[in-house]
Amino acid sequence: MKPIIFLLLGSAGIFAGEALSGAVEKQPLNMSAIIMFLIFVGATLGITYWAAKRTKTAKDFYTAGGGITGFQNGMAIAGDYMSAASFLGISALVYGKGYDGLIYSIGFLVGWPIILFMVAEQLRNLGKYTFADVASYRLRQTPIRTLAAFGSIATVILYLIAQMVGAGKLIQLLFGLEYEIAVVLVGVLMILYVTFGGMLATTWVQIIKAFLLLSGATFMAIAVMAHYNFNFETLFATAVEMKDVSIMAPGKLVSDPISAISLGIALMFGTAGLPHILMRFFTVSDAKEARKSVFYATGFIGYFYILTFIIGFGAIVMVFQNPQYLDLAKQAVDGGSPILGGDNMAAIHLSHAVGGDFFLGFISAVAFATILAVVSGLTLAGASAISHDLYASVLRKGKADGLMEMKVSKIATVILGIVAIYLGIAFEEQNIAFMVGLAFAIAASANFPILFLSMYWSKLTTRGALLGGSLGLLTAAVLVVLGPTVWVDFLGNAEAIFPYKYPALFSVSAAFIGIWFFSITDKSDTAAKEREAFEAQYIRAQTGIGAEGAVEH
């Protein structure tokens, strides 16, 4: 297997960790993991059955009735955001490169405070089911909803392919199942959770998964630290002895300032433009719970990244050069000390080193649960964009019957699930590392600028949002295609036309400038009305007067 590190630091860019790409070897059937996984599936299907009985209206389906608490939602957001690829990928990156793993994880965290300060409460006060509700609040429904839905679906599908391919490979590694079976299994379970249990089941799958993942990772980190009497200096010193001193300092992850800034923008604004993340804010009762959600989510995610750092170093001292985990066949060919299954398995081997077969099974099952939670959230967000934005708002002009809308949403879920299974299998052998990067670039360059300016800028008009948002989306897509990750790594050309891996600095600027320019030059009557409508929207956004409430069951 090509270690993930190669992809991360070599050519494919930072998002490869999220995509978990590269060839893997199938492992022998892992029984304890499969039993624990079956327990998880049984429990979550039980929850889905319970949730299905409580999911009667469209509001239940999209937002779990709006009655999730801030703490629960914070947990669910963390469960939505901490993917299996980030657990295994970041610990593998720390295992391989040390400090660079920490730099990488920090980028994925710092968007959260910005979401809290700028969008969380306003989003809750203005929206109902999707972020397009907010973006199109005072603008013309058809064009803005269509663009927002397109941005959502594009983001969801790209992210979903990356997760599906990662899932198939991971399950091959962990459980010894065939790739196709693994992908179909993930797709079918995700369709079951979402169509029957809607947001309520999805939320609880995410909460349980977050709890299991945080507990498992905490146990591993404590077990590692206990070996070194909870002294970091001793742990680091042992790790440096086994590798070399370079693991304690920044390596090649961030090299030039333009890339550093562009990557930061993609991660920050991209996180604030991911439809499945934004949708989670409609599941709580009011702005206060929305803000508490982000506080808890930031805490859980930050804590998780600190744990993965310790786990990565734990793997250096307990897995690296440990004959038990050495891939002898590979060592004979390539030399060095490769571990079985590749670097992505560092955390998995560590779980065996600290907790034996039983704990290995537990962590493998948690990794699978993690994938299910992430893909369910994505699918629900994609299905909502289709049913709520495209069907109910664009096609039916807001006059759709709630039950019919829910039905469309369930059909959309099944279709998205099938598409995800198909694409997951089709992209098995492809280098899909660019997909998560592209998803973040689109989220940052199309979704976020429209959402942000619709909340804060009174002079925004439909024309500005439509043209500027499309410009951002196109710029992001074109620059990713012409950049090193697609033009060179995917299409096999010798040199990239656009030199930077992360286009966000350019595409986000293009979106903001485009929206500004096409708004201020818009002299139409509707534009004047849209500007007038800002005051009422602003008051609702700031105070929550007139906002959607929770329903009682």
């Binding site: 304690m248 920044p250 961030v254 800034i261 920050m268 508490k292 506080f295 105070t543």
Partner: protein
């Protein structure tokens, strides 16, 4: 929302105080977060050796470790600072604005 209500709320001193104080606070915290994060990555881009310096002579732990963990903790602390003030001061102002608006919606 009726136009009279919009006009009344936008001139409500509580509303004016809420939006000015909260915007200023939110922007300040945003800028603090941006400065911390971009300060961190640009340090790495321009001079990675700063973070690779040992904490003290003979130690393996580098300056980068507490700095990196510090960035993570700062993100959490900043959200905590915001939530604490919003839960008390901003929610009280919002409650007052809403109670005055009651019956008008």
């Amino acid at each position: 929302m009726k136009q009279e209500m919009v006009d009344r709320i936008k001139n409500d001193p509580d509303f004016i105080q809420l939006v000015t104080v909260r915007s200023k606070f939110a922007w300040t915290l945003t800028i603090v977060m941006l400065v911390i994060y971009f300060g961190f990555v640009l340090t790495i881009a321009f001079d990675p050796s700063i973070l690779g310096t040992p904490l003290s002579a003979g130690s393996v732990t580098t300056v980068g470790i507490p700095v990196g963990v510090g960035v993570i903790i700062s993100a959490f602390v900043l959200t905590g600072i915001y939530v604490r003030r919003a839960n008390s001061e901003f929610d009280e102002l919002t409650r007052r604005i809403k109670s005055k608006a009651k019956g008008e919606v």
